[in-house]
């Protein structure tokens, strides 16, 4: 997995972002954000009034001018946040776009090998193209013939080549990736403009970004609050006239703009873009913002056992000899049989023998040994030495081989049915050991030397280190984990208990998965899962968050709403964390923004009404120097707080896997109480600066 690390405020990003923030002042763009649009309208109006006063002569021009300046700054800061968030994705998009433009394709004219060279953009869905070593794959498609190693670094950042072959679960190829060896025929599955890379570009640039349901709801709340403050401010002129005075428009505007939730209004879209960007940096592509939000809401995680919960392979953990054989003896034979066995299981036997019994590796050549490889027929492997012959393999297969019967046509059931001789005591004992191991969730491997059963190697699914703690964290967050496995229930139960998952689905078929998802959803829960095969597609589509592995089939990738470019199923857990972080950041800044209003009222209201009722000086709890400095300080704070919070908006608030109650307490304290207190201090500080600089 590669993660591009770029600092939050690199110079390369800031320049274009500043330019973008001015360009975004276009009202047609601003109207997407109701709160900031309102600010722009009042800023424009007051600017016009100011221009009139400038010509016709008015009082307090310096003061009004400064307020108006800060109104525009508020808008530019808001746009800057968004432009900066978008800019971080743009760099990545540009490099992607470069790969796309230069492509040509060898379109096949028929079943033969004749082709015509056409531009990549001219391809249509259903076309079949030939891709040879060194060629770029012109568009998304499915391998229909051949096998090739493909460099997918362009999209995954991972330079190690991957194998793509026709049939099976590794048939999908992505436009823009390069075939390194061999030749494949690819059927195009995406038209120009809608390929994976195109979607990726749109996503990282934020161009295809639509408001998510939660964002829409939040925008309604913010718009509602804005209207409430319209009432609060618009009624003031009448009240003032009753009291025998008048309030300058610029002061009313300052009060209004500081009261409406500009902080969250300014940062809302930046938070959303940054959330998507965090996923992209994590090499996960979400097809919609909705999926990222759903990830935060997930109640149940369906996790594939292999690769997620356990290491991909079983490992030897114990030698269990039959009576009359020492462990050392068994270990020695097993090690010899495995020396040339390059499978992970074989290697793990060698490692165990060395670690536990001090048996060192021996030189096969010196022993004049010949390796007998595993075949599906024999279901055994082993080694033939000058002095001995050792076999290890499936228990039934090994026992059957000892009885001398031909192995070729025997499956395990057949072996049980036609066992010719009554078993030896050793065979009975071996079977007993094997059964116990199977019950505990392990896989037994019988070892025989020169026709004599020595005992069993205990192969075990090794649960990944730290996974148990991860599941405990998830449980604290209120997320239930369900392990999906093709193992039998007994094995599954044992591994589930060891890994600490909440539940498991054994001997799972794709239909079982789908049924499980439906059942959870019927209870109102949101389900996340990952999958790669075509048979996972229905479940991926049904799940609220379906993460397709990039190595997977086209069908799986189409069905999911996220694609993991690294094809690492463990990432599902991080994806949930990123979703939660996005929602938390939004909530924290909303709370902060609204809590700020208390101090702003106390800054502006006494300043505003001091001319009407000097007694209201008592409300000036911050002891701000003058009415003008108070109002100016509030509006400056209101603008600067946006800039101050941009890093938080882009990075996201610190997320910890603790229960909701603890999270809420912590965040309420920081962003709620902090939101009430911080502006009191900050406005006072700004007031001191404004006074010292004689700005008001």
């Amino acid at each position: 997995m590669s993660r591009q690390t770029s600092s939050l405020f690199s110079a390369a990003l800031i320049g274009p972002a500043l330019l973008g923030s001015v360009r975004k002042l276009d009202p047609r763009a601003m109207i997407r954000n109701p709160v900031m649009f309102v600010v722009e309208v009042v800023a424009a109006l007051t600017t016009v009034l100011f221009a009139r006063d400038l010509v016709a002569g008015g009082s307090d021009l310096a003061f009004s001018g400064q307020i108006i300046l800060w109104l525009w700054f508020t808008l530019i800061f808001a746009n800057f946040a968004e432009a900066l968030a978008e800019g971080r994705g743009k760099a990545q998009a540009d490099s992607l776009r470069r790969t796309r433009t230069e492509m040509t394709a060898k379109r096949l004219k028929g079943p033969g090998a004749t082709y015509e060279t056409v531009p990549g953009t001219a391809l249509k869905v259903g076309d079949v193209v030939l891709v040879e070593a060194g060629d770029l794959i012109p568009s998304d498609g499915e391998v229909i013939a051949g096998v090739a190693s493909v460099n997918e670094a362009a999209i995954t950042g991972e330079s190690a080549p991957v194998i793509r072959e026709s049939g099976g679960d590794r048939s999908a190829v992505t436009g823009g990736t390069q075939v390194l060896s061999d030749t494949i025929k690819v059927r195009i599955t995406a038209a120009a403009g809608s390929t994976f890379v195109d979607r990726m570009i749109a996503l990282v640039e934020g161009a295809a970004r639509q408001k998510t349901p939660n964002e829409i709801a939040l925008n309604i709340l913010l718009a509602g609050l804005t209207i409430v403050f319209v009432f609060a401010v618009a009624s003031i002129p009448s009240f003032a006239s009753y009291a025998g005075g008048a309030i300058p428009v610029i002061v009313l505007v300052a009060l209004f703009v500081t009261l409406i939730p500009t902080t969250i209004g300014a940062l809302l879209s930046a938070i959303g873009i940054a959330g998507m960007d965090r996923l992209v940096r994590f090499n996960v592509l979400a097809m919609s913002g909705r999926a990222v939000e759903a990830a935060g809401d997930v109640d149940t995680l369906l996790l594939d056992k292999t690769g997620t919960i356990t290491l991909g392979n079983r490992q030897a953990t114990e030698f269990r000899p039959v009576s009359g054989v020492t462990e050392q003896e068994l270990a020695d034979a097993a090690q010899l049989a495995s020396l040339a066995d390059e499978t992970p299981e074989g290697r793990s036997i060698v490692v165990l023998a060395k670690e536990k019994y001090g048996i060192r590796a021996r030189d096969m050549a010196a022993l004049n040994a010949s390796f007998v490889p595993f075949t599906a027929q024999s279901r055994m492997s082993g080694v033939d030495l000058e002095t001995a012959s050792i076999r290890k393999g499936a228990v039934d297969a090994v026992i059957a081989s000892l009885s001398g019967a031909p192995m070729a046509s025997r499956g395990s059931n057949a072996a049980l049915a036609f066992r010719p001789d009554p078993e030896t005591a050793a065979a009975t004992e071996t079977r007993a050991i094997a059964e116990a191991i199977a019950r505990a969730g392990g896989t037994p491997l019988a070892v025989a030397r020169d026709g004599r059963l020595l005992g069993i190697v205990y192969l075990k699914d090794i649960v990944k280190g730290g996974i148990r703690e991860r599941f405990a964290e998830l449980r604290q967050m209120g997320i239930r984990t369900v392990m999906i496995t093709g193992d039998n229930p007994m094995t599954a139960a044992a591994i589930a208990a060891e890994a600490g998952v909440d539940d498991f689905l054994a001997q799972a078929t794709p239909e079982d998965k789908l049924a499980l998802i439906r059942k959870e959803q019927a209870q109102g829960k949101l389900v996340a899962m990952c999958g790669d095969g075509t048979n996972d597609a229905p479940a991926l589509a049904q799940a609220d968050v379906g993460v397709a592995m990039n190595t997977g089939t086209v069908a799986a990738r189409e069905a999911g709403n996220m694609v993991d470019l690294d094809s690492d199923p463990t990432k599902l857990i991080e994806i949930v964390g990123i979703g939660k972080q996005l929602l938390m950041t939004r909530g924290a800044l909303t709370t902060f923004s609204i809590a700020n209003d208390v101090a702003k009222y106390f800054a502006i209201i006494p300043a505003m009404f001091l001319g009407l009722y000097p007694q209201l000086q008592a409300l000036n709890v911050m002891h701000l120097a003058s009415p003008q400095s108070a109002i100016l300080s509030a509006i400056i704070f209101n603008a600067l707080i946006i800039v101050a919070l941009i890093p938080l908006a882009l990075r996201g608030v610190t997320y910890r896997a603790v229960g909701a109650a603890a999270l809420l307490r912590r965040n309420l304290l920081i962003y709620g109480l902090g939101g009430v207190l911080v502006p009191f201090v900050a406005i006072k500080a700004i007031d001191l600066a404004v006074t010292a600089l004689h700005l008001a």
Binding site: G224, V228, A232, S235, M477, L668
Partner: protein
Amino acid sequence: MNLDGWIQIALYGAVVLALVKPLGSYMTRVFTGERTLLSPVLGPVERGLYRAAGLDARQEQHWLAYTGAVILFHLLGFAVLYAILRLQAVLPLNPADQGAVAPDLAFNTSTSFITNTNWQSYGGETTLSYLSQMLGLTHQNFLSAATGIAVAVALIRGFARASSGTIGSFWVDVTRATLYVLLPICVPYTLFLVWQGMPQTLGAYADATTLEGAHQTIALGPVASQVAIKMLGTNGGGFFNANAAHPFENPTALSNFVQMVSIFAIGAALTNVFGRMVGDERQGWAILGAMGILFLAGVAVTYWAEAHGSSVLNGFGLTGGNMEGKETRFGIAASALFAVITTAASCGAVNAMHDSFTALGGLIPLLNMQLGEIIIGGVGAGLYGMLIFVIVAIFVAGLMVGRTPEYLGKKIEAKEVKMAMLGILCLPLMMLGFTALATVLPAGLAGPANAGPHGFTEILYAYTSAAANNGSAFGGLSANTLFYNSTLAIGMLVGRFFVKIPVLAIAGSLAAKKTVPASAGTFPTHGGLFVGLLVGVILIIGGLTFFPSLALGPVVEHLAGAAGQTFATGG
């Protein structure tokens, strides 16, 4: 302030709390259609009513149908009441020969009573016949209260149900609220009030010769029966102009205490109904807790302000509390407590004149109403008003636990937020909008009896009281004019229906949703943290909007008074 006063306040709180569970349990049974103690007696009556109306009690309504029924019911109620008021001169039971009520006053009064506001631009004993009082007003006192309860129950069902297309039947809810809740309490309550010395007669006003030999007409009437429902249903419309300060409408300290308890009884118990129906009583207690904190804070400020008295008078050496406008038989503590209760609960009955309170003492009743009458609130209305704030609070802060906000397993999404904001928006629009109008128009400026900030407060209080459906008057405002009658009536209508309709929309939307089971990742809404959050959101979102108006009214009056400055009396 003294110990005696605090004991009264503590005793009051204890009695209200003690009633929450039994009344809550009883009402839950009533609204979930279970058998109650009274079913053997009232069951046949109820079924008889449904049969007469051709109603199938099991037929539930979609929220739109429910809303339609609510509106239709109010329209009919309005038509009947308006007709009675306009025709009272020719109708029976009019021993004092009251003339027809003027059109604008009849409009204002009818609106006022169907909206559970009971704003009174008229003096009861000088304007209305017994028939108008009994058939017109008392009948709406029951029904406007019952509709409030019905809407609250419908909203509770929205939270309690999952994937349901209906939220109950309005006709059944309103019948049950009246028959099983309001009437059975009112009957013994009326007898109690009669025992305390309240008149209950259809006879003519009494003529008396005073000790000085002067002739005096003493207004009487069926007072006790109307006072019972006026308090229990948080209506607040007095039989007499002086409302609960009148000795016939509140004869003793005991009657005063019981009346205060009855204002809060149903509203407080509805939080328990809520908790029970959503399957977790703690949820109800949390909401009651938030209400309780705001209430006690209000009582403390008002009691302190009234006991501390007027700074101006203190300057003249007249120390002691502020007794202006208060009845000596109640004293400062019971008057301050009554004022906070009646404004917290959308009742609007008064046992002292709020106009005569100190500036800060008068600020609390004003603020109580500006928050939207959610501190216990009007029967039903208080709970659903509070739940609107709960939705906003959950939405704002709920994201901070990293999930889409949800309350009681219901996701709070765009539709709920939209409706909640609509419900919140209409109050400042009415309260501030009309005050802004009245403070610049000559018709409005003719109203207040005082100049300066106090006059401003009088206007602000009137519109606040109307839009919040409280109905208490600050006094000092001559409101029986075409301008005030019509604008106040609009304020009452908007304040009632533009909250009720969004609430029913929320109920419908929630009922249709699935219920997400709670987990460790769920925002906890039954603890102190949530209560604190809710109080904060109410004060910041509900309260701060009114900061400018409060600053120009009671706050500046208080500060000026503290500095010894007074404002000249105006027209």
